[in-house]
Symmetry: C2
Subunit: 411 residues, 2 copies
């Protein structure tokens, strides 16, 4: 994409009302726009990053048998009353609205209820199970405070997968598989080294749930990490008894701030029982389906990447989630040189490379480099009269100081 | 995808509370699920169709210079008050909600206001224009009645593009370009022959707007069509004066029911002026930006395709929007034959063909054919002991009666 056409620009000043590093950098770089506290629009560069993250998640969910759907925002109260999750006294972050005839509706903050209800049309016998259903869809949570940029929003994208199994054993097998898929997702997004499977509080049907916590000072959670064993314990379950049961030694644990980038939860029959999602087993006996839920916020993941990968000049996107692979920065002013820069751009595009091409004529070299640093594309290729004289371009990695001269024909 | 794994099934009975053909067929086929009146979830087959439509739209919008963004559902009332569109007395289909502190918020039914506001960060000079910005995003409209299936929803996906131009001339040029892009979209989705550019009421800044109306008895609009000239006039502007000004002859016009699958609208400075979106021109003079809006509902488009392309046995998807290109139906029962059917499936997949593979063991041939007709994939390939004996498969188009025997190696 030509930068002269891209409608966003970098903004010189930091937004006044942002306390979080991720939002500050993403707004200044033209990735997102703040509509109100906890509510952000995605601009072309930001949407590219978000879509890359979504596609990584989608691939890994498909790999473990996930089938993608798209459920609705508007929620029928009758359904949520059956699981006792409609009242604002029990669920304190509902956004509610109403039809013209006065009927109250909810705006989904999660989707156990509608999906469990939906599955009743399709699940009857053991032959219809297991099923793994997911979506990447917008959720709404009426948070009292929202000041962590896109790491905690009132409106946000969420990948939520729900598993429907015939037995605890079948459930446990998938649950373990999902852990591996999650670790792969964080690894592919560049967070592998900083992310820990973390024991957190469970529910009626399991002693623990598992969070995926990425270390960062801007995280809202406190965890205790065993860096050798690569696991952690959330402060909420940090007791001697728990440590003993997990075989962890207090002396090996380090207290850290972290952000929860994913979580997986054994639901058992918590939703299938009240909503009546049953199946007939091989012996003709009716059982409630065993469920699990598996969440990742792609926007929060993007915010976490931005929060971790930056320096004083701007962002440093990991390759797999960068908005473009290459930032081609042209300093050419005369027509013949511009033509050569255009050729390099067109050749890269023809070879399937994703290129942001800074073809702006009236921006100074300094302004272009500053923009390039702020936007944070991993590889920068500089073309100028000077480099063209040697039939070359200058190539520099965003995370390195030195550039190298590379012949154009060997690009 | 293996049908034995696909979690949806076809449903034998028609949904009780559906009056529309599209919703009846799409629900029975397992494409969508009704959450409440005017609110539908998309299941794996339906999401595949929707994504194909989205991608066609995306390609054509990118071709005319569109840059994709993703704006938010939650809307700040202060913005909408500036254009006098906040009050329920003026806009009668708002869904509204509120923050925990009581602040009222809207749920976007369109996005002129927030995008115009956003552009103020990026548009200052004539050099920053023109800009064409679009999204494919969920809208909410609090319709009093909603009984046309996915053709008129309370929650629905919309592609909305907004153009920002420096002059009426620049605007008009893009407006004409958008017409061609729209016609291409409907053509590619299979609606080319049934869809007419239709003159409809304009606003302060243009005599007419243009709708794209697809002929169907289930449409809510009445239009008068000149089938030779391939244009139509909406009943709302059907006067002698208008016909004369368009050079149309009443005798050539046929009254038809139709559904509005798209519309384009010249906005002029209706939003840029009250919200203060200005640019400085070549002479240093400040002007308000000239805007236009361009809408298509991908879900409505899908509903319209379903409404038009069906017969007594089910759906008949046009190739470009079909959930899969091929429905491979195996009637094989013994292991050796199943192995051969699996090979055909794997070979098709390896060649990049999108295949739904009916590998179910316990469904009868009759049930499989009925399901296949209902789901409506354009090409059916039947493999059975009988066809395998001739090293062949039977190939049948969904819209044809006769099948032909084709050697497996020449597939």
């Amino acid at each position: 994409m030509r930068q002269s056409i891209l409608f966003t620009n970098t903004l010189k000043e930091s937004p006044k009302d942002e306390q979080s590093k991720n939002a500050e950098l993403l707004i200044r770089g033209g990735f997102i726009n703040k509509e109100m506290a906890g509510v952000y629009s995605y601009l072309p560069l930001g949407l590219r990053v978000l879509n890359k993250i979504n596609n990584i998640i989608r691939e890994e969910m498909n790999n473990i048998g996930g089938q993608e759907v798209h459920l609705t925002v508007l929620q029928n109260p009758e359904l949520w009353k059956q699981t006792n999750r409609w009242s604002d006294e029990i669920i304190d972050n509902w956004f509610k609205t109403s039809l013209k005839n006065g009927t109250e509706l909810g705006m989904g903050f999660t989707h156990e209820e509608p999906l469990t209800q939906l599955m009743k049309s399709y699940v009857h016998s053991y032959k219809d199970l297991p099923a793994y259903v997911y979506q990447i869809q917008t959720k709404f949570r009426n948070e009292k405070r929202s000041k962590s940029g896109i790491m905690r929003c009132r409106e946000f994208l969420m990948k939520d997968l729900y598993s429907f199994s015939r037995s605890q054993e079948e459930h446990d097998k998938f649950y373990e598989k999902s852990k591996d898929a999650y670790l792969k997702i964080f690894e592919r997004c560049g967070l592998g080294n900083n992310t820990y499977i973390t024991f957190a509080s469970g529910g009626v049907f399991s002693k623990y749930s598992h969070e995926f916590q990425t270390l960062t000072d801007s995280g809202e959670d406190t965890i205790f990490v065993d860096k050798t064993k690569k696991i952690a314990v959330n402060k909420e379950v940090y007791t001697d008894e728990v440590l003993t049961s997990l075989g962890l030694d207090k002396k090996e644990l380090v207290e850290e701030k972290a952000v929860e980038v994913g979580n997986i939860f054994t639901l058992g029959t918590k939703y299938s029982e009240p909503l009546g999602l049953k199946f007939t087993d091989e012996n003709g006996k009716e059982n409630s389906v065993i469920m699990g839920s598996y969440g990742i916020g792609p926007g929060r993941l993007m915010g976490t990447v931005a929060e971790i990968f930056n320096d004083e000049s701007g962002l440093l996107w990991p390759e797999a989630v960068a908005p473009f692979a290459v930032h081609l920065v042209s300093l050419c002013k005369d027509e013949a040189d511009i033509k050569k820069a255009d050729d390099i751009y067109n050749n890269l595009i023809a070879e399937g490379v994703e290129v942001l091409y800074d073809d702006r004529i009236d921006a100074s070299a300094g302004a272009k480099f500053a923009d390039s640093d702020l936007i944070g594309i991993p590889k920068r290729i500089i073309v100028s009269t000077k480099t063209l004289a040697e039939e070359s371009v200058e190539v520099k990695q965003r995370n390195e100081k030195e550039s190298v001269l590379v012949k154009i024909h060997s690009l």
